[in-house]
């Protein structure tokens, strides 16, 4: 843990577009303050590249407070870097030390093609939600919000699953590039709530079907997704999804 300014070497994946061959390029960054965030360190590097007339490094980012899920760097072999429960934008340089070499790559998964440098296409996640990650209630159909009491423990569990930010770290870290943690988090949130019951099994089937169609791999229970998830989404969600999926297949199959 550094408290003094640092000099670092970065090895950053550069790739001009989806079809190009990419490679790691070395950059030196000097006088990095430990109070900087990882992305602010990239801002400094980019400012330097622009002044020199080089192409700045493209990376996704937006809220920079760990909630939008846009940032997505694979840092020293781990999504969002070395710290637990933290997104890249909330990773601060005090987690590194002077002289470190840091390797930065994009998410790697067939279903997340690289767009440029460190930015990838994660629209597959939106399509999984569009396949069933909702409750079919049109605006204006709702009854009073307190009409159905929901036990606090159940509501809290739904909230924990709903905290997913769809960053894709689970897919990036999985050796099978599986999207089961992401998909199961949404299925769980809705399966845990009374409002989600009418479409529960139908939802599990359609979302899983879309997940497969997108080219994500399967789950082999390694648990890397849970370990790397910046929001601490639990593996239990996958178990719940599987239960609902099998229930749908063997007990109450509906046409979807």
């Amino acid at each position: 843990m550094s408290t003094e300014n640092m000099n670092l070497t970065l090895k950053v994946w550069r790739q001009t577009d989806n079809k190009a061959q990419g490679n790691l390029v070395d950059y030196k960054v000097s006088d990095v303050s430990p109070d900087m965030s990882f992305l602010e360190m990239f801002d400094v590097l980019n400012e330097d590249l622009i002044t020199k007339g080089d192409d700045p490094i493209v990376f996704d980012h937006d809220c920079r407070e760990g909630i939008c899920g846009a940032c997505s760097m694979y840092i020293n072999g781990r999504p969002h870097g070395p710290k637990e429960l933290v997104t890249t934008c909330q990773l601060h340089m005090r987690s590194f030390k002077d002289g470190d070499t840091i390797v930065v790559e994009p998410w790697r998964a067939k279903a997340f093609p690289v767009i440029k440098d460190l930015a990838v296409d994660r629209t597959a996640f939106d399509r999984i939600i569009a396949a069933g990650g909702f409750i079919s209630v049109n605006t204006g159909n709702a009854q009073d919000a307190n009409a159905i009491p929901i036990p606090k423990s159940q509501s809290d569990a739904a909230f924990e699953a709903a905290a997913c930010i769809a960053c894709g770290a689970c897919v990036a870290t999985c050796k099978n590039a599986s999207a089961m943690l992401f998909t199961s988090a949404k299925i769980s949130q809705l399966a845990l709530l009374p409002q989600g019951q009418p479409e529960r099994y139908r939802r599990a089937q359609s979302m899983v079907a879309q997940m497969d169609a997108e080219g994500f791999g399967n789950c082999t229970n390694t648990g890397a997704c849970e370990a790397e998830c910046p929001k601490g989404i639990s593996l239990e969600n996958i178990a719940r999804m599987n239960r609902d999926f099998y229930h749908a297949k063997f007990v109450s199959e509906e046409e979807v």
Partner: protein
């Protein structure tokens, strides 16, 4: 241009909306299928509008610059959403929410709009719960509430410190459902670069595909701008890096008046700036003021650690100055009070630009209650603190973690250091009661419009307004316009107006790439931010604003002759996107200063040093400034002021007091 008509329905305040809604012209289902609507932005307002309009049967196209509609900046809202449910049986009502909002806005909002907002607030909570939004609950299974600033009831619904995320994901899931059914066409990583006006009506947009760089033309019978606020004009703000004014500004340049641009909300509790490298500021939710007490040392330049400063040497200045509301005064009041203490030399931390937000007293109080529950009688302080910490953790855990991550200090051990930062903009495109701008067929929703918060927004009201506009207002009010458009066939995008707008957008992009100067876009953005913060920030005066206008004009010239935008137009080029946004911020910055200079009074977030009470409170001038300033664009930063008089028929206008 005709004089401003807010189109407020006749009749009693409490019946205006109900009557209008019941008598509004309708579009029958088969006609809806042939009407196309463009929605720009996919946050709470945009996503809820796009989803609802599609549910009703309209053909909708929705655009966002992010890679997914779920990442719109509404996602970062922390504290909560207000609704006049009165579940706590503490005397809340539609009228009280209406009254609090008008008063909180320092009597600079439109009565009829605010009352409608209060009326539909309850429906929002119902809708969200039905969508599966896991709002916080009590052990009995019913919804929980907490307090927010500027109110004396508990009407704020929440989901830990992630309320915006949960509400947005609710709206997003509704939107995705419509996308899945093919009723909404979603365009992610697209930025709107112009509105296309044909025969005086908004008929489409020019959008840039941010990946390929292609310019696209899209037709719509109506265009809805829901692109959020413009706080990033200050460079450092709590907004997301991509939040921008471009869509709203282009609409302004095409004829939509801009309302009250100088009304900016500076949020009192943000993590202080740590250095020159800082790219954005992080909010610490207002909900923390439920349990955190704000103080500074009574002695100037006190270098002792906070824990070493005894109780009687601390100045809990909000509790001292405003005993009735204490730490829960509205944001503008709390921010100014923090600035006053720091300017007077009582600030803490390295920069001396911070005050303490201290949870010790309430942690101990909660601990005592917990100890009682566990049958521990006469617990010592350490036990109370240990048990109380668990309670605090459950309420604010994610915020405490975020604070620790950013500052490297543990707020369970040390009080937080906080300072005000730019957070929200009350100003925006001027809209009438139907949310239509001065351009027929062009609407503005959510933070992008000016309508409901007057000169200061109360906490937990932004989420309420965004969803009210999108779920419950626009779906009705747009009918009165579209019902007259049934004969309008889709206009070909080869129409000269589309060609001209596209060519203009292309010329601007080519210009950026050809300047080939020496300084990055960020260089100019930071410079603009500094001018705005120092001269059009928490305190303003005539001299400073006059200087700022000159400085911004100079900066604008320098930008257009010396900016360096690398790369090409035909590729994914975030620097090019930023250049367009900063060019618009520079123009907007000037208008904000012009507006602030014109408004010779203090109200809400707009504090002119020349106009204050002897106690340093904002001093309004109702005789001369009880109006909405709506600015018309005349090219090359020439603006003309139009006034919409504010009439208060149901509320007695008074000097705002939180004492």
């Amino acid at each position: 241009m005709a004089e401003l008509n807010a189109n407020i329905p006749e009749g009693d305040l409490t019946e205006k909306w109900t009557k209008l809604r019941s008598s509004m012209p309708l579009v029958n289902p088969s006609n809806k299928r042939s009407i196309e609507i463009i929605v720009v932005g996919s946050g709470l307002a945009g996503a809820s509008a796009a989803a609802t309009l599609a549910e009703m049967g309209y053909k909708v196209k929705c655009f966002c610059f992010q890679d997914s509609p779920r990442r719109a900046h509404s996602i970062a809202a922390q504290g909560g959403i207000n609704a006049a449910k009165n579940y706590q049986n503490d005397g809340d009502s539609t009228y009280r929410l209406f009254y609090d909002t008008i008063k909180g806005g320092d009597y600079r909002a439109r009565e009829a709009n605010v009352h409608r907002l209060a009326e539909v607030s309850s429906n929002i909570i119902d809708q969200c719960v039905a969508q599966g939004v896991p709002l916080a609950r009590e052990y009995g299974g019913l919804l929980d509430n907490r307090s927010f600033g500027g109110t004396q009831v508990q009407r704020t619904f929440y989901a830990a410190g992630q309320t915006g995320q949960q509400l947005l994901l609710g709206a997003y899931s509704s939107l995705e459902r419509q996308i899945g059914m093919g009723k909404v066409e979603m365009y992610t990583r697209h930025e709107m670069l112009d509105v296309v006006i044909i025969d005086g009506k908004a008929r489409g947009i020019i959008a840039r595909n941010l990946i390929t760089g292609e310019l696209e033309r899209h037709f719509g019978h109506a265009v809805l701008i829901a692109s959020g606020g413009y706080g990033n004009v200050f460079y450092l703000s709590t907004n997301a890096m991509g939040s921008n004014v471009t869509a709203a500004w282009k609409a302004h340049k095409k004829g939509a008046f801009f309302g009250n641009p100088c009304y900016t909300q500076i949020h009192p509790t943000c993590i202080p700036v740590s250095g020159e490298h800082q790219s954005k500021l992080t909010l610490m939710s207002e909900s923390l003021r439920n349990d955190g007490r704000i103080w500074v040392p009574k002695k100037k330049d006190d270098t002792r650690k906070p824990s070493e400063i005894p109780e009687d040497e601390r100045d809990y200045y909000l509790e001292r100055r405003y005993p009735a509301f204490g730490n829960l005064v509205p944001r503008d009041v709390a921010s100014r009070a923090a600035k006053e203490r720091c300017d007077a030399g009582y600030g803490v931390g390295k920069s001396k630009l911070a005050v303490y937000l201290d949870f010790t007293a309430n942690t101990e109080r909660y601990g005592r209650i917990e100890a009682n529950k566990h049958n521990i009688h006469n617990p010592d302080k350490a036990t109370c603190m240990r048990l109380g910490r668990e309670v605090i953790k459950e309420k604010y855990g994610n915020l405490f973690d975020m604070y620790k991550q950013i500052t490297g200090e543990d707020p369970y051990e040390l009080p937080m250091r906080i300072y005000p930062a730019v957070h929200y903009t009350m100003g925006g495109l001027w809209v009438d009661y139907n949310l239509m701008t001065t351009v027929p067929g062009l609407y503005a929703l959510g933070e992008a419009n000016f309508s409901d918060h007057g000169a200061n927004r109360l906490g937990a009201s932004a989420l309420m307004q965004g969803l009210a506009d999108g779920y419950f207002v626009i779906p009705y009010t747009i009918g009165s316009y579209l019902s007259k458009e049934l004969a309008t066939k889709p206009i070909s995008t080869d129409h000269p107006a589309f060609v001209e707008a596209e060519n203009a957008a292309k010329a601007t992009i080519d210009k950026f790439l050809s300047i080939n100067g020496t300084k990055s876009v960020d260089y100019f953005h930071k410079k603009l931010g500094k001018i705005m913060w120092e001269k059009c920030g928490m305190a303003r005066n005539a001299q400073g604003l006059t200087d700022a206008i000159e400085e911004i004009r100079t900066l604008r010239k320098e930008f257009w002759s010396d900016v360096r935008v690398p790369g090409t137009t035909g590729s994914f080029n975030p620097e090019l996107e930023k250049a367009g946004r900063v060019a618009d911020f520079i123009e907007l910055g000037e208008l904000m200063c012009i507006d602030a200079l014109n408004r010779n009074e203090s109200c809400g977030g707009h504090f002119r040093e020349e106009y204050q009470t002897p106690e340093g409170e904002a001093l309004r001038d109702d005789e001369n400034f009880s109006y909405v300033a709506a600015w018309e664009y005349f090219g090359d930063t020439q603006f003309k002021l139009h006034k919409e008089e504010l009439k208060f028929e149901n509320i007695k206008v008074a000097q705002r007091s939180y004492k």
